[in-house]
């Protein structure tokens, strides 16, 4: 590597047009090596420069040693979907380096530790060796911390090569370490040393650059698990029980942190909430149902295997009509599947969780903004409908950082549903728990502890009549199930309505949850190919007339989802059998978020 006098940016080869704010960086590391700090520092610094970014961590189910990839996508147009290709590789994992380098396109860039002394086998990419060890050795980092800070070397070198604002990197580290000067300075020292080394020693021969924009002003960067937890706190959650399972665990970690901040009694310092780590997911959902029955806003968070364990209790809560909120941060199944990879594979399971004729409202947040919104709305729905509400997030939303507009404070007061007080009971002279007084299928309930001789009823999963008494009479059974169906019809109008974007196109796309990011970009690409699409984004199940109308108005409907069996397409065909012939499934699942490239090609293949 020759020393050059001018700044690397000045030496940018003039025969290449610079590629600005529209490329992807992939950082390949070894799991457990502490690269997350470095990666999020780059991501946040770019975000603070006003450039639309998205970051995705593709990590193994492992504590230490297996390969991890972190992608940072810059998109001047604001796209946040996963991009398959990457132009800049930071190769920090020797095991995967050869494969990772092979995937680079011509003009690609490879940063790697100088100590590896690898052969520069490709002449169509630029190699930049980084003297990681020398830079760390030259710093006064305590020896036990060197492995933690060594990743900062690539941060500094990237800052030079791409022209990332060093001040924003400092801000990002300050945010990451919550203002603690010592770790910020220690990490920043390596970043600066690497930055200066690169300024002095590297001749830039690649076209990739960043430039400040104004596209992120007023926005925030957060993961979906934190957003959902924060939304739950503003929904008034006071009880949570859970069992650790990837990728939902950090949701409860966040919930505890936010509750500790926002729900500690200022006078006594005591908690106005309880978070219980259960012995398993059966215990977790049982505790939530117990608390919901007693009148608390209660929630749990889990993932596929945990959801399976909650099956029997979900059926009980449906039939005994107890409010509960269950977040399922979906991962790959069946079985243990791929615990650290994303999917939308629990749609059918969640919708019908339980045995017998059981069905549940299911919400699908598309991003962190909606994760916050559904966080509080789920409790209103659960208490209004007196039934479990399932919120289906996924690993991509839950554990990755997403840009978002600031969250909106709840615009409606808490809806505690139909609960009778002692005074109400006095006036009414009693009540029948499962009677359909209002014609909407929703009965009135009383809470344990209500001081009235006629307040009590026995909640049960066994067959019961309107008075909640055990009954094996066929007509009681039928009447109750008809009322539950009426209640489910009421749910159709209470749940968040679909988001429709239509302009008279011949074909329509239906998607839900995190695939939204992919659909947005794919629609633009299809438009460029001359294929106009209308788009309906489902925000919840059960379906209602809006979806039916949308399907009726299009000759062909493509249901886009990140699973193998096309689960939502199955539900749509089942609920609207007369429209089934025009409903096509575009389902794909390989552990990673769907890409616009795949969706565009999939639609083109059908349409041409």
């Amino acid at each position: 590597m020759s020393n050059v006098q001018s700044s690397p940016i000045d030496s940018l080869l003039t025969d290449h047009q610079p590629i600005v704010n529209d490329f992807q960086i992939m950082i390949a590391t070894v799991n457990g090596s502490g690269s997350q700090t470095a990666n999020t520092a780059i991501l946040r610094a770019l975000f603070r420069m006003g450039i639309p970014v998205s970051g995705k961590n593709i990590f193994p189910s492992n504590i230490q040693g297996l390969p991890t990839w972190f992608t940072i996508r810059l998109s001047k147009d604001g796209y946040t979907a996963r991009r398959m290709d990457y132009q800049i590789l930071v190769a920090m994992n020797r095991t995967t380096a050869a494969e990772d380098i092979k995937e680079l396109p011509p003009q690609g860039v490879c940063l790697y530790p100088e100590e590896w002394q690898i052969q520069h086998d490709r002449d169509d990419i630029t190699y930049y060796p980084i003297p990681v060890k020398a830079l760390v050795d030259a710093s006064d980092t305590p020896s036990n911390l060197t492995s933690y800070v060594s990743n900062m070397a690539y941060v500094g070198v990237l800052a030079t090569l791409l022209n990332i604002d060093m001040e924003q990197i400092r801000f990002a580290l300050d945010f990451h370490f919550d203002g603690k000067a010592k770790p910020v300075n220690m990490n920043m020292a390596i970043v600066t040393a690497a930055y200066e080394w690169a300024q002095d020693n590297l001749a830039k021969t690649d076209p990739y650059m960043v430039e400040p924009m104004d596209k992120t002003q007023g926005m925030l960067l957060l993961d979906g698990n934190s957003a959902g937890a924060l939304g739950s706190v503003f929904g008034g959650v006071s009880f949570s029980a859970w069992y650790p399972i990837t990728p939902s665990t950090s949701m409860i970690d966040s919930l505890r942190a936010y509750l500790s901040d926002l729900r500690t009694d200022p006078e006594t310092g005591l908690a106005t909430y309880a978070v219980v780590q259960a012995e398993d997911e059966i215990g977790a959902i049982g505790m939530v149902i117990g608390a919901g029955w007693a009148g608390a806003r209660a929630m749990t968070a889990t993932s596929g295997p945990g959801l399976s364990l909650m099956t029997e209790f979900a059926g009980l809560a449906y039939y005994a009509e107890v409010p509960a909120v269950v977040w399922d941060v979906q991962r790959m199944g069946p079985s243990t599947g791929l615990p650290t990879r994303t999917a939308q594979g629990d749609v059918l399971t969640a919708y019908f969780l339980g045995h017998g004729d059981t069905k549940h409202p299911v919400l699908f947040p598309r991003d962190v903004h909606e994760a916050f919104e559904f966080g509080w709305k789920a409790f209103d729905l659960a208490e209004r409908l007196q039934t479990p509400i399932f919120v289906l997030s996924d690993l991509d939303l839950g554990m990755n950082l997403w840009m978002s507009e600031p969250f909106d404070y709840p615009d409606t007061p808490m809806d505690r549903g139909k609960v009778l007080t002692a005074e109400d009971l006095e006036e009414l002279d009693g009540f029948a728990r499962y009677a359909d007084v209002d014609g909407d299928g929703i009965g009135y309930r009383t809470l344990p502890g209500t001081d009235h001789p006629k307040a009590a009823y026995l909640a049960r999963g066994t067959g019961h009549n309107e008075q909640a008494r055990y009954s094996e009479r066929p007509e009681d059974w039928v009447k109750n199930m008809e009322r539950l169906n009426r209640k489910f019809d009421t749910a159709r109008s209470l749940i968040p309505a679909p988001d429709v974007d239509e302009a008279g196109a011949e074909i329509g796309l239906i998607a839900y949850g995190t695939t939204h990011a992919c659909v947005v970009e794919a629609r633009d690409r299809l438009e460029a190919e001359g294929i106009a699409t209308d788009y309906l984004r489902l925000r919840a199940l059960p379906l209602n007339g809006v979806t039916r109308d949308f399907i009726e108005q299009h000759s062909r409907i493509y249901v886009v989802e990140n699973n193998t069996d096309g689960q939502m397409a199955q539900i749509i065909r089942m609920e609207f059998p007369d429209l089934a012939p025009r409903v096509f499934s575009l389902a794909y699942s390989d552990g990673l978020p769907l890409t616009p490239r795949w969706l565009t090609a999939a639609v083109l293949e059908q349409e041409r």
Partner: protein, 345 residues
Amino acid sequence: MGTRVNLIGLQRNDYKGGDSTLCQGCGHNSISNQIVAVCYDLSINPHDVIKLSGIGCSSKSPAYFLNRSHGFNALHGRMPAIATGSTTANNRLIAIGVSGDGDTGSIGLGQFKHMVRRNVPVVYIVENNGVYGLTKGQFSATADIGQELKYAGMNELPPIDICLEALAADASFVARSFAGDSKQVRELLKAAIRHRGTAVLDIISPCVTFNNHESSTKSYPYGKAHEEPLQDITFIPEQEPIIVDMMEPGQVQAVELHDGSHLVLKKLDPDKHDPTDKMAAFRLIEEAREANQFITGLIYVEEDRPTLAETSHMVDTPLVHLTDEQLRPPREKLDRLLDHLTCCN
């Protein structure tokens, strides 16, 4: 003379439940009757009580007492979870859970032990008959080794001892009784209700239909012939002073419960057992098992062990009584958090 009422002006009838659909003579019915008697005697407001159960004959019984109390007939073996959630949501509720040996000893053993470990405030009654009644006569996990049943044949496996499992999970109140010994059941129930953590009451409650023959240790004939009470138990409510004269050193032990009430234990054998000694409790159960003795009474009590609410550092106000303003933080709090997260402050 008017109808008899208790301290809160309720008649005994105000505590009754629906008609039992269990078999005539079932031990469970007698336990239900004692629950009614005890709640009346202690002048407990029925609306402060929640009745919880799992699945099985025993778990049907909450319908047969305290009609004026809310109840939750949950899933097989999962009543502990319902008890944990409901009592944590509302710490004013007095939870009376009724379970069976299948419910607690088999399918729900895990939940049972974790509830005990958390010291959830619940009176946890196991109506233990060593047999599955509703599915018509299979062995349960508490059946004796070598026992024979009409259809199930011979039981080859050792029994799970509910009291031993409770002790191993650090239970703060463990007692064993016999449905045929109404007085003892009653006094233990009173103490269990006043105990502030999990009170485990393993009550041998004979199944008159499937397991009431002489060879079963969970039958009336066996229980009546072999019951060896550890103590003569008297519960003294907090309102009443203990008469000091009753205290005969070495013979009488008074255990003070958290609310100031007392359990006065008159030892029937002075060397026999100190219920505040955990190692002695383990030894007692194991030795009784080896000697085929049917020991009843208070096996272990530890009044000071913190409850789940205490280890969770919760406010005293029941969570369900918090106002909407207390539940939903104000707009400024969200603004402050968002301000911290937003670009580029």
